[in-house]
Amino acid sequence: MSIDHRTEGSVAKPRLTPAPPTGSYLGMPAFPKGVKKELENQQLRRNLRHATTTIRGKRALRAAEVHDWEELRVAGEQIKNRVGRHLDHYLVQAEEAMTRAGITVHWARDAEEANRIVVEIAKSKGTDEVVKIKSMVTQETELNEALEEAGIAAWETDLAELIVQLGHDRPSHILVPAIHRNRSEVREIFLEEMGNWGTPAPPDISDDPPELAAAARTHLREKFLRAKVAISGGNFIVAETGSVVIVESEGNGRMCLTLPETLISVVGIEKLLPTFEDLEVFLRLLPRSSTGERMNPYTSIWTGVTEGDGPQDLHVVLLDNGRTNVLADPVGREALRCIRCSACMNVCPVYERVGGHAYGSVYPGPIGSILTPQLRGVASPIDQSLPFASSLCGACNDVCPVRIPISDILVHMRHKVVEYKRKTHKLPTGESLLFKGIGWMMGKGQRLAGAQVATQAAARLMKRRKYIGPLPIPGYPSAWTNARDLPMPPAQTFREWWDAREEQR
């Protein structure tokens, strides 16, 4: 993918931060169309293969080290099920505990409401910029653009998010958002863009990762030291104590959580844990599953306001934005256990080849394919295509630290998509006609025998071939056979073979 350039030409108001690519996730083409572009990009495929292979190996090593790994996974599953099935109870408990500890708790039905709450708080502080910790949920609500609209610059401080922001790009992975970029692309982005928005990169910078990380440290330090307001997500909220937990690597999170006067954390309602002790399960599962480390470098836990230490004005915005839709489906609700570790995308053969952008969502890969169509519904072409963006190989099920049966939910979601189409299409779809036809044909032995005679006749016309390749018949036949080779129909059908065998007896 080439570097997009600033798209501010036609807009009168100058940008406060680098503009993201135009268009919205929901407007993206269906998955099979979207991947065509990505698959042609050899650089992208090389970057992804290298990155996912490395991280898969590290995860496997760190999971194998833990003697009770399977027990831990079961505990993770049970604790998260307990929270999800009684979410109203734990949310009220968490709200009480947080309020007692001096945190102002807000509730947001959807993305727009969450963004409005954050913008209002930031505005009331009279600031024109905020620093941000990498947060999938604020990517989901597109908070940065809402802040930009309101005249507030939002600076991403995670290295990968900085690469994405400066590159006028979108994240393609939930843990390593710039996984699709290699070092020389990062160097180009830093050289070209850093100077437009703050401390420039040294002009003689090389593509050595430590040098690039040092440039990011210098670029961001002035922003950390002067910021008045920070915005974060949250990995966990402990309902019993009202503690908020953030795990990270670089220390940009600690900078944002410690130095500004005001901290606003936007957290999905499913992120609760019942007790403080539950952290012993999740803080062992999460780092080993996500970065493949025994422990991530930094974990911050705060329980309200501490006088003389850190932000004195703390806010938590509890966000629904479709999560209650997920909860309403007794099969699909298991996806709400997700702790955003990214192990499923790192192990997925589809993700490894196409990357995160084609999924049309901030949540790509296997978990995104089951979560996004539940969060947003299955009305758009992209959301209808996501449950089919899988070979159902099931590798994701085995690595998931909270044992989400991802491939089962994929099949369940395929069913929901078909049901939705049946309800909303006046005329039957080509697909439903095809399956009706197959159903009719297979409904009676004589019809199936007739069809087999027809395929044998077709096979005789195509003799000398070993298999059936792409068929020049438009629609489903060509779409299906373009990606698959079919074996030739055998000279003798099973029925013929059986009859011959009976005669010989």
Partner: protein, 221 residues
């Protein structure tokens, strides 16, 4: 209807199929909390895993802590050292004797002033061997969170009796801190990133150098 009421109402509708209203009875959790992890020698494991993060660690007898601190700061090339109010007097005396500029957070230092100090010296609350993790609860011997964040070098003294096998035991020991609503920070090596091609780079925003001094109990030496 307020957003709060509406979301709670949506949740109740979405979970109407769940008959058992007691969360604990509805979903039993089989996990036994707070158990030690079998790791062999706890202290050796701790040292190995700290070194695995490319952080430095030395072991010392209780009477050698002052000297170990001075050697650590010398190795790190620090001249000025920030010292939280609860740090032991003998350590401060060793710093002064070693010719370091001792900086106190009294009156409270600004972010810019913190950024000028070379290093910070602290104690810890508890440490976990299996993951090489040091947990701070920001008591007086560790100081407010910014002190262990902005300076580029962190020398942390951990007593041997503070090291437990793994995270479950550490979480149990942090219970009083969370009940007292103290902020808690877990540190596992220096700051690091793997954001460029998943190559691990030590040192981004947090202290780039972590130096642990593991202090034996007076009785054992």
């Amino acid at each position: 209807m307020s957003a709060r009421e509406e979301i709670l109402e949506r949740i109740r509708r979405a979970t109407a199929d769940i008959r058992e209203k007691d969360p604990v009875r509805d979903v039993p959790v089989d996990w036994a909390y707070g158990r030690p992890t079998p790791v062999g020698d706890v202290l050796d494991t701790f040292v190995e895993n700290i070194e695995d993060y490319k952080a430095r660690i030395v072991r010392t007898g209780a009477d050698g802590t002052g000297r170990a601190i001075v050697e650590a700061l010398t190795e790190l090339g620090a001249k000025s050292v920030l010292v939280p109010s609860g740090v032991q007097d003998t350590w401060v005396a060793a710093l002064e004797a070693g010719g370091f500029t001792v900086v106190r957070d009294e009156p409270v230092l600004s972010h810019a002033e913190l950024n000028e100090v070379d290093a910070v010296l602290t104690g810890a609350r508890v440490a976990a061997a299996e993951t090489g993790t040091i947990c701070l609860d920001h008591d007086d011997d560790q100081g407010r969170r910014a002190l262990t964040l902005v300076p580029d070098r962190h020398v942390c003294v951990v007593r041997e009796d503070q090291v437990v096998s793994d995270i479950p035991e550490a979480v149990a020991r942090l219970r009083p801190a969370v009940e007292a609503r103290r902020p808690i920070t877990w540190i596992s090596g220096g700051s690091a990133t793997s954001d460029i091609e998943l190559a691990r780079v030590e040192g981004v925003h947090g202290p780039r150098n972590l130096f642990v001094v593991l202090e034996a109990q007076p009785s054992s030496r």
